[in-house]
């Protein structure tokens, strides 16, 4: 275990090891994961960009590391990557703000 950090970049390479303590579930997860990212109705490139945006909204350092590299490998440009992150950011902030309607409803109900 890394002595001073919760997150260690080298741990990303060990992701596959999670199958060691629960082989059946681990294998099922990785089969599913692999299948999700195959070319389908969406291209693998489009899926990688979605993954990059979600990696940021989830604020998962491992996922950001992995999908930055993955999108670069697929020839995605910096501009496209940043736009994808803005989509994630817009949904995040939109999701916060849309709850403002709840607050407004409550205020309207409580106030005379």
């Amino acid at each position: 275990m890394a002595a001073n950090n919760y997150y260690d970049p080298a741990d990303l390479r060990k992701f596959g090891n999670i199958t060691e303590w629960s082989k059946e579930l681990g294998d099922k997860f990785f089969d599913y994961y692999g299948k999700v990212f195959e070319e389908g109705a969406l291209t693998a490139r489009e899926k990688a960009l979605i993954a990059l945006a979600v990696a940021h909204t989830e604020q998962c350092p491992y996922c950001i590391d992995a999908y930055t590299k993955d999108t670069l490998q697929r020839g995605v440009t910096k501009e496209e990557m940043m736009e994808a992150i803005h989509v994630g950011a817009a949904i995040k902030s939109g999701a916060t703000l849309v709850h403002g309607v709840m607050m407004m409803n409550k205020v309207n109900k409580l106030e005379m």
Binding site: R13, E39, R45, L72, Q73, R74, G75, T77, K78
Partner: protein, 358 residues
């Protein structure tokens, strides 16, 4: 900043960089994570599938490096080519190559460099070699050379007249990524050169004048799927510039020379080697290019591939020079390997003709 920029315009040789010395590169590739057992040696890896020692199949490609001089100084260049490199094949060595070309069983002749067109005897050599009746005659042109000087402007016509198959580097369909890897202004010149090749018929749909592009990543990561990249390139180059080409070869950058220097300087070396080893594909070993290629250097020595040439690893055979060439004896050799070979076996595999795995 200016000093840094100037440095980038010189080869490692000119800069007297430590990594200009082949042995220093080989040391680097065998020490550290490979010496302490963190990662397996390439020999150990191919031993797992009984592919050690690696041996040649039938010879198909003669690749001749006619010199290390180039008009560009690309950051990733495994040749360490540039305007300051003076190693150039002489007409005498070319004549020895021609004698071999006339009698070889190989179906492909592949001229590379540096910028092969900068060799003063390049046109004479192409003229003579094209008479030998080789099925596929490739010239690896960096594109910008076609626009570098008036004396090169007629190269598209020259290639066409000799039915040369043009293979050109194009790291991306955007200006930014291309110029960062290959130098400022390279993108615009490359686009212009491609349009001129198209104008004489190269790369056009249904045309027999073959124009293929080589993509290699502009950084410390592996190339994506070749077919998907080809689709992206075709769409973008046609839409933005009206350019046609035939195939895209996705090539992995090998940790040799300037790319190795870049990996170390940017602290990406270990991660990159991990990526290569993790992506190791035993199926790619079957078709790796050293098994069907002989690489010939500017001074006539023989190598298993262009990368081994740059690492000064001559073929392990009693025949080591073009002047004493004997295909049967040469084909009965063990291929020399080191950890750079992981670059050719990662993912779908990589060769001068792109991906190799079935």
């Amino acid at each position: 900043m200016l000093k840094e920029k100037k440095k980038k315009q010189q080869s490692l040789h000119k800069r007297h960089s430590e990594l200009a010395v082949a042995n220093k590169q080989l040391e680097k590739l065998s020490n550290g994570i490979f010496a302490n057992g963190e990662l397996p040696l390439f020999s150990e890896k191919i031993r797992e599938t009984n592919q050690f020692p690696l041996r040649p199949n039938k010879l198909e490609i003669l690749q001749i490096n006619v010199g290390y001089m180039c008009n560009q100084v690309c950051e990733h260049c495994h040749v360490d080519a540039g305007p300051d490199r003076k190693e150039i094949m002489t007409r005498e060595t070319m004549q020895q190559c021609l004698d071999v070309i006339k009698n070889t069983g190989a179906h492909t002749l592949d001229l590379t460099g540096g910028a092969p067109e900068m060799n003063p005897d390049f046109r004479w050599f192409v003229d003579e070699a094209s008479k030998a009746g080789i099925k596929d005659f490739i010239v690896r042109s960096n594109l910008t050379i076609i626009r570098a000087n008036k004396k090169y402007y007629d190269l598209p016509e020259f290639f066409k007249n000799h039915n040369v198959h043009v293979v050109s580097s194009m790291p991306h369909w955007t200006r930014g990524k291309t110029d960062k890897q290959r130098g400022e202004g390279v993108f615009d010149l490359s686009i212009k050169a491609l349009q001129e090749l198209n104008a004489v018929g190269y790369g056009m749909p249904e045309s027999d004048l073959r124009l293929d592009l080589v993509y290699n990543p502009s950084g410390a990561y592996l190339p994506g799927d070749q077919a998907s990249m080809e689709k992206e390139f075709k769409h973008a180059l046609l839409e933005d510039f009206g350019i046609h080409f035939h195939n895209l070869f996705a090539i992995t950058n090998l940790p040799v020379s300037r790319f190795l220097d870049y990996l170390i300087a940017s602290e990406n070396y270990e991660d990159y080697m991990y990526s290569l080893v993790e992506a190791y594909n035993p199926a790619a070993v079957k078709n790796v290019m050293c098994r069907n290629t002989i690489s010939i250097s500017w001074d006539g020595f023989l190598y298993d591939c262009d990368f081994n040439q740059m690492l000064e690893l001559k073929v392990a055979s009693k025949i080591q020079h073009i002047s004493e060439y004997n295909e049967d004896i040469l084909n009965d050799r063990k291929i020399i390997i080191s950890q750079h070979c992981y670059g050719c076996t990662a993912g779908a595999g990589s060769s001068c003709q792109g991906a190799v795995a079935d």
